[in-house]
Symmetry: C3
């Protein structure tokens, strides 16, 4: 149950190591705190192995990767893998540059992430190593829609089975699959795309969920995805006249902070394929 | 017309490549989204050319420059120039350190920015390579006032003509000149100086405007400057009792998000010299 | 008097050089502006000495240290020391990794900070070079409580006397000591721990206070600590239904912005040991 996954986060207060981009890092930290975890950031190669050793999970986000932080990602990923800590990879902009695609592919091969979370363009880039990705947003031509849903569910299952991990493809409709089953989640608001960092925040939150629900990883990721979308719905309903995307960002994090299991259980919108 | 410039941003949703400081980067991203564009950040030399190639404009801000990102700025600038993409340079702290002045001067020579946007101290530092700049704010002794307005308009025109680009000098009174004409803009609030990043946000927004208004660059920059000031006025009017600079920051971005052409046309305060 | 310390900041508008982590840097900048100072950030070794030379104080925070910024910290610290500028060290995560502990210890030895501000786990790590620190938050086993207060006051005095600086140990109860006297401060709210960066913001604010109160450093730091806690109380009281940690962050900075000497004098809760 999604509410149980949330309660496990709140009860265990997992410490999450984040190697993430400097654009949205503050929101990621506050989102992890909001859902009940604790964040720590470290990307220096000489620092990351000590830090990841005291954490319960590792969130790697390549949104503003550079030569030094790529090295940090690989060292942290290797250490987390050796310690059996769950790893989430957020391949921001895979398909948009050769360095991003190459780095994401290398991290998949070397660190064996438990979860890859991205938009459909990024995941397709990793799947076929070629894409119509334009920037860090999903290309409209790639969108998961009601019309292509069966096909995209199959794509998610195939990608997860081939990569040997859970995949979370987020957008208007979210898909979370471990290769066998696929959650189709319909929480969220289109206006979330007018805020920077909703995907990054979700990756941080999902890592906290993973860390607190080790025996139930696929459901935990689906619960995180559904909760983030639901926070987007609650935050949107709370907007006052004259408010826009900056206030919406705050209201979404606030909604995560105030989320309770009862609400999540009642308002999660998903089915299984 | 300023409102047409805004409508072109909303219609074309330009993707803007930002190499910007880590202090205000999140606000820059949300401000670009608020005005109707889309942001992507990348500063790694191995990444920047691929990223700038998929964008419509490049915003270079030296606020937290380092050896690696300076290299990224030069490579991205060269690529954007080769592709004919508009480039905006925000020389944060030029005059405050030798590295900042030198880097801004080199970027001017190597990348030929279409627009340079800074406060009067920074622009003077670039003009005379010596300045009384104190930190990243304009020195009071440098301020554009009603008393020295004619002289400063001439300075702006001369700088633009000599540098071969548009200059936007922002402060209590804003000047935007292409060397021939000069917009004198009086939107804004003094309290905007008590928020970090209003200048950086404006540079991001102005790059979106430039990207969406290729045949009308000077007016597009003036429209962006006026709109940012107007958002400062609207955000200030919306402040509730007990609110301060953190809420004001959010309310300014919110006001950009909700800005419409009608309001901008009606409340823009400017004349031409 | 604490209110006089605040008034000195507002009157002198000190420019503060920050070498700080990219997680909370925007909040640090806005917090410094809110209290009446002005922030500038620079961490590139080639840039830091020029920047620190034009400032009145230096805030070094190792929260996302890397090889390049560590070099910048040492150069800036050496320059600030040579110029007689006050230096504050925030040893984020000391005890959590060897690099963090080693860097903090080296900065103490090479730069002789005027103030070290951290949580009890971090300060203990510096004191004994071994700790039960878990991440960037204080370990519960280390907390300063009413039960161990006498012992902890003695610890603070001993640390300050041995290190030859002022120490500020912040948590549920805050201790500020110069080795002879110790302020015991009881402002604040436990919910401040659910926001990232309240400690980092305090370090920025305390550096502004130090810069503006050169003859009264220990009281100035205590005034900053008390004011930050009081802002946490005021911000908490201002929270609206449905608001959480993101809004709370904004409301705390807003409360600093609107703080007046009268309120600080009246509502500061402290005694001297």
């Amino acid at each position: 149950m999604f509410d149980t996954c949330l309660e496990h986060v709140r009860a265990s207060v997992p410490l999450v190591h984040n190697i993430t981009n400097y654009v949205t890092v503050n929101d990621v930290a506050n989102a992890i705190l909001a859902c009940g975890g604790r964040p720590i950031m470290s990307d220096e190669p000489e620092d990351v192995m000590d830090i990841t050793a005291i954490c319960s999970g590792l969130n790697i986000n390549i949104g503003t990767l550079n030569a030094q932080t790529i090295q940090g990602m690989k060292l942290a990923g290797g250490k987390a893998r050796a310690l059996g800590h769950p790893i989430l990879l957020d391949p921001v902009g895979a398909g948009a540059s050769r360095l991003r695609t190459k780095t994401a592919v290398e991290l998949m091969a070397q660190c064996h992430p438990d979860v890859i979370r991205g938009n459909i363009s990024e995941i397709k880039a990793l799947a076929v190593d070629s894409s119509s990705t334009r920037g860090v947003d999903a290309d409209a031509a790639d969108a998961v829609t009601e019309d292509n849903l069966s096909e995209m569910v199959q794509f998610a299952k195939d990608f997860a089975a081939h990569a040997g991990c859970i995949v979370a493809i987020t957008g208007a409709i979210d898909l979370v699959s471990d290769g066998k089953q696929c959650y189709v989640i319909r929480n969220g608001r289109p206006e979330m795309g007018r805020i920077t960092g909703t995907g990054c925040m979700l990756s941080g939150i999902a890592t906290a969920y993973l860390s607190a629900n080790r025996d139930n990883a696929c459901e935990a990721v689906a619960a995180a995805v559904s909760m983030m979308g639901l926070a987007g719905e609650i935050g949107y309903a709370a907007l006052q006249p004259g408010e826009g995307n900056a206030s919406y960002r705050n209201r979404i994090i606030d909604a995560v902070y105030n989320m309770d299991g009862e609400t999540l259980r009642k308002d999660a919108k998903y089915d299984m394929r």
